[in-house]
Amino acid sequence: MAELFSLSQAVARFVEDGDVVAMEGFTHLIPFAAGHEVIRQRRRDLTLVRMTPDILYDQLIGMGAARKLVFSWGGNPGVGSLHRMREAVERGWPVPLELDEHSHAAMANAYEAGAAGLPCAFFRGYRGTDLPRVNPNIKFVACPFTGEELAAIPSIRPDVAIIHAQKADREGNVLIEGIVGVQKEAVLAARRSIVTVEEIVDDLELKSPNAVVLPSWTVSAVVAAPGGARPSYAHGYYARDNAFYFAWDKISRDRNTFLEWMHANVTEARS
């Protein structure tokens, strides 16, 4: 059963040094508030998993929280590179970053397989490309009926999944709406999970019997964190702060500018 926590309590209790952590969100509902709390609590040696690492992961990597990144597309969408991620990969600053790199199809299938309790995911992919040459986690298996070679990769089973959603009720049942990405799968695939929400309500007032819902007992901690996805957006609540995504390019180019910004806006800011 999900319990209600403050953000600092939830991170203190459910995120440990060395954990495999998936903070998911596909442009939409990126859990910035929770990720910043992970930075404030100075977690180290994390393996960060995410299909589309963007600014939040750039911040975590630049602050030295991660030793490994599992991903399929890393960039500041529509703007350019992630300078902190590139510096960690290209120059090992502030700590070297190991990469476990996939395609979107592979990671989406690996989350799905994780949620489905399977040890690996099978899909039609990677044919004729170079990633299988550099990533030993990509194998091929023959269909026992047709002989067709299918790609296989280990399922994603994070120690902890962290997502942001629109709302939860007081029992801890969570509604996710709009571009739902792989957030439901990330939570179901993980051993522990933290869900920050825009608001906690008496009744989810679901408009469809087929709404995307995480029932209370699949979530470890529910945290009220209004605005917790900013500068990303929350469908029905607020829009994406595109100007900030452009601004990040300048902030993050230089180590010192980056550290100053993080100091002023994250580590010394109240959660």
């Binding site: 596909f26 589309t52 991903f71 597309w73 969408p77 979107h104 592979a106 799905e112 992919g125 990633l131």
Partner: protein, 258 residues
């Protein structure tokens, strides 16, 4: 009307699409071309973004693949695992529209690294959806700015399979879809030779010389027997594209990258 080479490229790409197409759309140049087609001659085209948005009709171009505008104007939005399993791998897409940092003569693409994979000179964003878009869609259109740095003889890394490094690997490895058939740049349009699978220039954009194309291609580029001149953008196309770009810039609170 005057127009830029970027506008010519986007207009030429848009023209290649029709009402019946089901397009898997990447951010940036592909997204501009697909939406321009929808706003001009192909209002019924179905656009799908990998964020899960199906038959979306954005009024402004998304900055990111999962912008709210895509969901707000979509027929339906599905989860990302469903998008990649039922929609892309399920073979329901007629055209995948890709771009990349490097392309070779056989339409193979690199969006992973420049230099050695383990010690890259430039770490690019990576595959995203591209690897499986390249093999699961009915055919692939590529749109890229042309230069010797981007149109290369040998890719540093093969992220997305075109016809393979020798033009035959795609078929040999049992991939059933057509692969790259069209490449549109800011200089010209190329199509895949049915036999050799090599990209051949079939249309030069107005004012572009063969020499210019050669100078901006890293391999010995071939020209079709009859090379045409691409019709310049007409007024309707240019106005639609500029309106779209203006709306986009206003919505994102910044000047668009292009």
């Amino acid at each position: 009307m005057n127009y830029t080479t970027a506008e010519m490229m986007t207009v030429a790409a848009a023209r290649a699409l029709s009402n019946d197409d089901i397009c898997f759309v990447g951010i940036g140049l592909p997204s501009a071309a697909c939406n321009l087609a929808r706003l001009t001659h192909a209002p019924e085209i179905t656009l799908i973004y990998e964020s899960g948005t199906i038959r979306t009709r954005p009024a402004v171009l998304p900055l990111s693949i999962g912008d709210g505008e895509l969901c707000d104007t979509a027929l339906a939005t599905v989860s990302v695992p469903e998008m990649f399993r039922y929609w892309l791998q399920g073979g329901r897409i007629t055209i995948g529209f890709l771009s990349g940092a490097q392309v070779d003569r056989f339409g193979n693409l690199n969006s992973t690294v420049i230099g050695d994979y383990h010690r890259p000179t430039v770490r690019l964003p990576g595959s995203g959806g591209a690897t499986e878009i390249a093999t699961s869609c009915g055919e692939i259109f590529i749109i890229m700015r042309q230069s010797k740095r981007s149109f290369v003889a040998e890719l540093d890394f093969l992220t997305s399979l075109g016809h393979g490094r020798n033009g035959t690997e795609r078929q040999a490895s049992g991939v059933k879809t057509k692969g790259p058939t069209l490449l549109i740049s800011d200089l010209c349009s190329m199509s895949s030779d049915p036999d050799t699978k090599e990209f051949v220039v079939h249309s030069l954009h107005p004012g572009v010389s063969r020499e210019q194309v050669r100078e901006n291609t890293g391999w010995e580029i071939r020209f079709a027997e009859n090379v045409e001149e691409t019709p310049p953008p007409n007024r309707m196309e240019l106005e639609a594209l500029r309106d779209l770009n203006a709306r986009t810039a206003a919505a994102h609170g910044v000047t668009a990258a292009d």
